[in-house]
Symmetry: none
Subunit: 175 residues, 4 copies
DNA sequence: GATGAATGAGGTTTCATTCAT
DNA sequence: AATGAATGAAACCTCATTCAT
């Protein structure tokens, strides 16, 4: 267990990479955990900031179709995963998952989704909004992240976005 | 980095838990990585053995409907994730994702899926079989694993299985 | 080595407590040792200033009995240990004993004692003045300091002073 | 604060001096504090073992005079302080005093003293046995330790022992 | 083979000290 | 002069790995 990127994330290396001394790092963060959390939080905020960029135009009371909304959300999710993929990966593989990451990109994205879907409840096939939000968020995120790691070409060609739209719209919309 | 229960996965503790000496462990595995890999492989095999149990009855050239097949696959995936959830989680957090895990549960399940779907290509809406397999496998796995960690009640009530079937069948089947 | 309250004695904390910047501290003291020494010296002077208050009335050539003198010295020693007990303790635990502290409260008190006793040599039972001074000073100091730390009630009730007087007068005076 | 013997007591140096690796040290002691405590305890036990050697002959119900007893106790205390003076000093200056050392040589010696004196209460001038024990123990210990550090010649010539006996017997015995 | 005490590189963290502002 | 952020040597401690028994 020596190598690549995982145990590589040491406080001394973070400090060096950041161009500060290890002492300075500890002036801002009381310990490694808090440093990791701060990085994760910052990264999540960056992602959300970008997401807003894609989602704002939709407006909350807009009369866009669910299809349009979905498409935009997927586009946002793809864009968001391009923010800092290396950091994203390290955070997802270093930070005890549920405890920290859940609070961050997951929860935030779920909130956005929930409020979008709540307004269009009558057009939705699934009845349990909470469950639906969980499924959508998780599916989008895992497919995009998985593609990023294992099938990057699917993102470049736009194929994944297309299929995600098909997958989720068929599920969400009443026939 | 406190422990959060998972940094507890040290070679000495693995040996003790396994009831052998640390020295014996190193007689079988040259280093921690290989030990982890072997554990992962064994676990993946356990999962596949159980999966076969669910999938064998379908037969390869059977004339079951895709819906039936999907339902059975989902059932298999849920069962399979109950094999040793704690170990499963530890492995997912310890083993560098793409490099090892892909070789294991992912790849195996993908193969099973591919051969099932290949025989029913004409009934499928999506055209790119490879992409479809990726999407199905990933979606099933991430939703079940995610529920296991964050929403275990969804598994107990069977809700998740139901929704997964809805999600994937609507996507897969021609209208 | 947890803190136990006394490893808390860091230069930065001293500066903060003193209301100056750490930079300013280092303008006056070249290093921690010299700072500690200065603190110890100041503290010792404070103690001596107070001691003089008790001892001056005795006068050097006064014709007070040794008993009176002893009593006053003990009173002075008790008062002196109330000056800043916390600082006193910290200094005793931080400053290498023999090298610094000897120069301070010990030596000064010994000088005072020596000159008092020298004038009454003929009334003293012990013959070696130097040794006597060592014993008296050390006994007074260690019993008062020890009581301060471990048996503060002995100081409040005045019991310790009484016993110290008995202990030392029986030793010093000819029968 | 760089130098001599105080901050010198690091875990790595202890390990090196003990001829073991730092890892081995931590196999036996969970942290530095416990190591220090164990050293202190061992040292205190060594001292007590030697003390018993001097005190056993007295017997508990013996009819030795208090003078004889005192003399023997002082002799024991002097011998005891020769056990490992360097270690003794480090322990006294490193270990948060009251918390650890008190439990050790102090308490043990106090117990021995108390039981000796309790049997001869009617011959004692002081009335408060507890206070007397505190005074005797502390006086013996501080004078011997102080001489060891600052006036070693007093120990070699036996002068200190003599004066201690005079000091304490005059105090203890009824006239 | 099996054992587990021993190893030590390297990780996290502290704190005396410096120096640009 | 005064400030306090920055520095980094060095402390404590962990854990994958070795090797004498």
């Amino acid at each position: 267990m020596t190598e690549s990127g995982y145990d590589y994330f040491t406080t001394n290396r973070v400090a060096e990479r950041a161009g500060v001394s290890i002492g300075s790092l500890y002036q801002y963060f009381p310990n490694k955990e808090s440093l990791l959390f701060a990085l994760a939080e910052h990264h999540a905020n960056e992602m959300m900031r970008l997401a807003q960029h894609y989602l704002d135009p939709l407006g909350e009371i807009s009369n866009r179709s669910i299809l349009e909304v979905l498409q935009q959300i997927i586009k946002a999710a793809v864009a968001v995963h391009a923010v800092n993929p290396k950091l994203h990966r390290v955070l997802h593989e270093q930070v005890p998952h549920s405890e920290v990451m859940r609070e961050l990109d997951q929860a935030k994205m779920e909130n956005v989704l929930r409020s979008f879907l709540a307004h269009r409840r009558d057009q939705l096939q699934p009845e349990n909004l909470d469950l639906t939000v969980f499924i959508i968020e998780r599916t989008i995120r895992s497919l995009i992240y998985g593609a990023l790691i294992d099938r990057p070409e699917l993102l470049k060609t736009g194929e994944l976005e297309q299929e995600l739209l098909a997958l989720l719209s068929n599920y969400l919309l009443k026939k």
